[in-house]
Symmetry: C2
Subunit: 186 residues, 2 copies
């Protein structure tokens, strides 16, 4: 038998795949159990309710997102380069064949009237990203008002790419970000 840590990872992984592809409400716990290969009893011991599982999935997504952003930023030397690297990261993400938009936005739209804990997790993720951008804007020596503008561009690129089905929005948002950066740094 596998230990709790491994079982937990398998369940979160399977749930993430299913929830992201089909939506949370369209996926039953039975499907999660089949995909994960972990019994329902064990799943409910690890996650007392489906909401807890959704939160765990989002927290896992946050780790992946942060790691991806950090890896792309590392290849850039300046703070300005790190800010633009966000859009390169988005570009690569949008080109993945199973891209279906930002999981946080999707879940928020689906469960906005429901679990309050899920809403909080989504909000925290967006706030953390905003804080990351704000830190880089400070380092770049640009006025603080630039940060939310760049964050809005990244947000808009994600929903536009999801709905249009093309990755074009990443490059378009990057170009806009360059203009805003140039104007702010004059």
């Amino acid at each position: 038998m596998i230990d709790d840590t491994a079982a937990r990872a398998q369940v979160v992984d399977a749930a993430d795949r299913l929830f992201y592809a089909r939506g949370v409400q369209a996926v039953g716990m039975d499907a999660v159990r089949t995909e994960a290969g972990v019994s329902l009893k064990r799943i409910y011991k690890l996650f007392p309710s489906k909401d807890d599982l959704v939160v765990a999935v989002l927290e896992c997504r946050r780790e992946v997102w942060n790691a991806g952003i950090a890896a792309t930023a590392e290849r850039a030397g300046t703070a300005r380069g790190k800010l633009l690297a966000v859009f390169d990261f988005l570009d690569a993400w949008f080109r993945e064949p199973d891209f279906r938009g930002c999981a946080f936005i999707n879940v928020y739209g689906e469960l906005s009237g429901g679990s309050e804990q899920v809403q909080r997790t989504v909000r925290e993720q967006k706030e953390a990203f905003g804080a990351y951008v704000a830190q880089l804007v400070r380092e770049a020596g640009a006025p603080a008002s630039l940060a939310p503008q760049l964050a809005i561009l990244a947000e808009g690129a994600q929903t536009t790419a999801a709905i249009s089905g093309t990755p074009d929005a990443a490059a378009q948002a990057r170009t806009a970000a360059e203009v805003l950066l140039a104007a702010a740094l004059d």
Copy 2:
């Protein structure tokens, strides 16, 4: 008894309120029937399935959106002014107490794995908005590449405002749009 046109309007109106506030999947047809005051039999005569009702609700939202955008644009003289007016429209919308984000984005996130007709309706709305912005950009004498950038700003403002729970994103996006417009019109 009311005629079909009035019954249809009542059902769409009630469904819109419920779907927007709680999500499509969280609202049963029984709740729509109670809110609309129209019998289930009649609802299913007007809309053969729940998906058809969702599409009708989205089409109604599109009319309201287009009318609101047009009304705000009318108060601006120039094409540049009409482009910025989009963000004034968003600002007023975000301040409404029951604002919960863009209904099209919410529905897309919720049913992305489901009805293909719903997906098409969402995509058409976003394409139509993009075409509207592109037309104004042309009239303003700016390069065509500006249009998707402004559309992405509007899109990002909507999701940011929904998740953050504040209307700030409208003004931030408007400021960014002014910078992009100034740079494009040099």
